[in-house]
């Protein structure tokens, strides 16, 4: 009965095109927003913010960016982390060259740089397809990380080669750097993530979204019905890289506080790919579900047995964690290749007709 849709009639196309045509979905969203904006900040501990809430939001955003490219436009990328790196380094350069710049503006601008580089590395996608393209994105991955190491100007010739987030203020409040309080950083992340999610929802349900999906599903047919494949792919690369770049800037400025080049190496790319795939390619909500799982699992493995009084060696926990993540990936692929989002959709379908099976 929870999800009964009977009686909810649509009287205009506009209302049918709304994000949540079913009222219960809107209510559910309301509850989630309430949790994210009010309940969590009031109740969460420092540890929860640092190991769960903030990373989940940031990873979701990065996965969202990847999903635009891979899930919507069908271009498999293995180089996500490098574009996060571009965003992070761009942000670092901006705030150190122009200390007066509003940090939020700097973060949102840093995506523009990764978008530019994303387009440059997206050009091969016009000629190269499938796995060949995936390997080609690895060229970006390895080359950019190498550049972060070798190009001293990027890290202000810091002797350690790492970038350190300075203390930054916005309207007199510290928002980044060691002086910033966790809750402020959480809200900054939440604002940016909510904003970009809303924009992405709009983009993917409209003209551009259909253009991308057509490119993904059948590229030649897309071209023959009037889609400029080059524009379609390159806008996907640009918008995806923009989101990923902003996620990278948040990653370093709102969470990590410092970064060395190899942080943006391939394991991070893969982790984001896992989130996108386990969550569900071609879905917005899936990114959040995937991030909750991938970020939450190790934390759970670390804390739950301990809370139950079982002591497991921390190295063993780490090994187990890797094994479990690996098995979970296989498990979910077998159970539902379209990810958690589809799993939710199926449950919801059941709920709509529950308790009557027809």
């Amino acid at each position: 009965m929870l999800y009964r849709t009977a009686g909810q009639y649509k009287t205009s196309y506009a209302s049918d095109q709304a994000v949540f045509p079913v009222r219960q979905d809107a209510i559910l969203l309301g509850i989630i927003l309430l949790l994210a904006w009010v309940i969590f900040p009031l109740t969460a501990s420092e540890f929860t913010f640092q190991t769960l809430l903030i990373p989940i939001l940031i990873y979701s955003l990065a996965a969202l960016g990847l999903n635009v490219l891979t899930g919507y436009a069908g271009q498999l990328s293995l180089g996500t982390a490098a574009f996060m790196g571009v965003g992070a380094y761009a942000c670092y350069k901006m705030v150190t060259l122009m200390p007066w710049l509003n940090p939020l503006v700097a973060i949102l601008l840093s995506g523009a740089f990764s978008a530019g580089i994303g387009v440059a590395f997206g050009i091969p996608s016009l000629r190269i397809k499938g796995f060949y393209l995936a390997i080609a994105t690895l060229a970006a991955q390895f080359f950019l990380v190498w550049l972060f190491e070798k190009w001293g100007w990027l890290y202000n010739y810091n002797s350690s080669g790492a970038i350190q987030v300075p203390n930054l203020t916005m309207f007199g409040v510290y928002v980044a750097g060691p002086q910033a309080s966790t809750i402020v950083q959480y809200y900054v992340v939440l604002v940016v993530v909510s904003l970009l999610t809303w924009v992405t929802i709009n983009l993917t349900r409209g003209t551009l979204g259909r253009t991308w999906k057509a490119t993904r599903d059948m590229d030649f047919a897309a071209e023959l019905i009037g889609i400029n494949l080059m524009r379609s792919k390159l806008t996907a690369f640009a918008i995806s890289s923009y989101i990923v770049g902003v996620a990278g800037a948040l990653f370093v400025f709102m969470w990590r506080g410092a970064a060395e080049p190899n942080l943006f190496d391939i394991p991070l790319s893969f982790r984001i790919l896992f989130i996108a795939i386990i969550g569900g390619l071609g879905s917005i909500m899936g990114n959040y579900l995937g991030a909750i799982l991938i970020v939450g699992l190790p934390v759970m493995l670390n804390t739950v047995p301990e809370a139950l009084g079982i002591h497991i060696d921390s190295a063993t926990v780490e090994h187990l964690n890797i094994m479990i993540v690996g098995s979970l990936i296989i498990f979910f692929l077998i159970i539902e290749p379209h990810g958690l989002a589809r799993l939710w959709a199926l449950i919801r379908e059941k709920l709509v007709i529950w308790p009557f099976p027809h």
Binding site: R127, K150, I329, I330
Partner: protein
């Protein structure tokens, strides 16, 4: 600047030809190993359209099993046999648990599944064998460990005997594999599968058997690669990263071409070493080997989307 790029490196090469030979030799040895890993990829891709990301971890896993068994006191050659047994069981398990339930899924799903296998094997391997670096049982396997010092052009050329052994063994393995693929019924079935799965089925061998077999062959290749590479720098999980080098090889040589994997591997091994020594280190601060192969493959594909050995593709509707 132009002088540094276009003239100085070649002057360097000619002024110290013995050193150039050493560079080429080093490139060749790495190239052989890249080619072997790429070969594992190609076999699996041809027979099941799976882009097997786990090939790299299989190398580590095979080498670790070998060394781990030896540490338990098992004689070296028995270890090799037992390791082959383990690789066979692994192939069966992968086919049974992972591949069979995923038949018919899109390529990307299968690709992700092999990443899942990779993670699982990393965790599993570390629990069983521990994460520390181990010494490959080179001598116990009868692999010579000395080196030959040649003096071409009055200079110095050092050939490690184990590298020479690796090259020879790799060559034998490739020849054996080609014979197997062209002379036996099984082998022909595998090859046919690459072109047309119906044809393969008509030979009368079940798809599942072929998959187990192919993964097992990939396991054998992994073991050989693991021994050869482990002899160079010990056995540890850091080995896994060399698997990435096989990817640009596949781009150049094509995902389905056995010859492409071998030639592409050697090419990349040689070129990346030459580039690093004569251009990377003097001009770009070194470490260019991390990306050179990828960028090279990318540029080649931009101009020849079909790869170096593929035929021009005619698109059809």
């Amino acid at each position: 600047m132009l002088h540094d790029i276009f003239i100085a490196p070649f002057q360097d090469m000619f002024s110290a030809p013995d050193f150039l030979l050493q560079v080429l030799w080093e490139g060749l040895v790495s190239g052989i190993l890249y080619a072997l890993i790429a070969l594992g990829f190609v076999l699996i891709f041809r027979s099941s359209r799976i882009f097997n990301f786990a090939q790299g971890i299989m190398v580590v896993f095979a080498a670790l099993t070998l060394v781990g068994l030896h540490a338990m006191g098992v004689p070296a050659w028995i270890c090799v046999l037992l390791t082959l047994g383990v690789m066979f069981v692994l192939a069966m398990a992968i086919e049974r648990v992972v591949l069979r339930p995923l038949v018919g899924q899109p390529d990307i799903i299968l690709f992700m599944a092999t990443i899942g296998i990779t993670l699982f094997l990393i965790g599993f391997g570390e629990i069983i064998f521990g994460g520390e670096n181990k010494v490959m049982i080179t001598e116990e396997l009868g692999i010579p460990t000395g080196s030959w010092t040649l003096e071409p052009f009055g200079g110095l050329l050092i050939l490690e005997q184990k590298d020479v052994t690796a090259v020879v063994v790799a060559a034998l393995l490739v020849i054996g594999l080609l014979v197997f693929l062209s002379r036996t019924q099984m082998g022909r079935a595998i090859r046919a599968l690459g072109d047309d799965s119906q044809a393969a089925l008509s030979v009368g061998i079940s798809l599942h058997t072929i998959w187990v077999l192919v993964w097992f062959i990939a396991g054998i290749i992994a073991l050989v690669t693991g021994i050869a590479w482990g002899a160079r720098a010990g056995v540890s999980f850091a080995l896994e990263v060399i698997a990435y080098k096989a990817l640009p090889v596949l781009m150049l040589g094509g995902l389905e071409s056995i010859a492409g994997a071998i030639i592409g591997g050697l090419m990349i091994g040689l070129l990346e070493k030459l580039f690093e020594i004569y251009w990377g280190q003097p001009l770009m601060g070194g470490n260019t080997e991390t990306w050179f192969a990828f960028v090279l493959a990318l540029l080649v594909l931009l101009f020849r989307p079909q790869g170096l050995f593929g035929e021009k593709i005619i698109e059809r509707v």
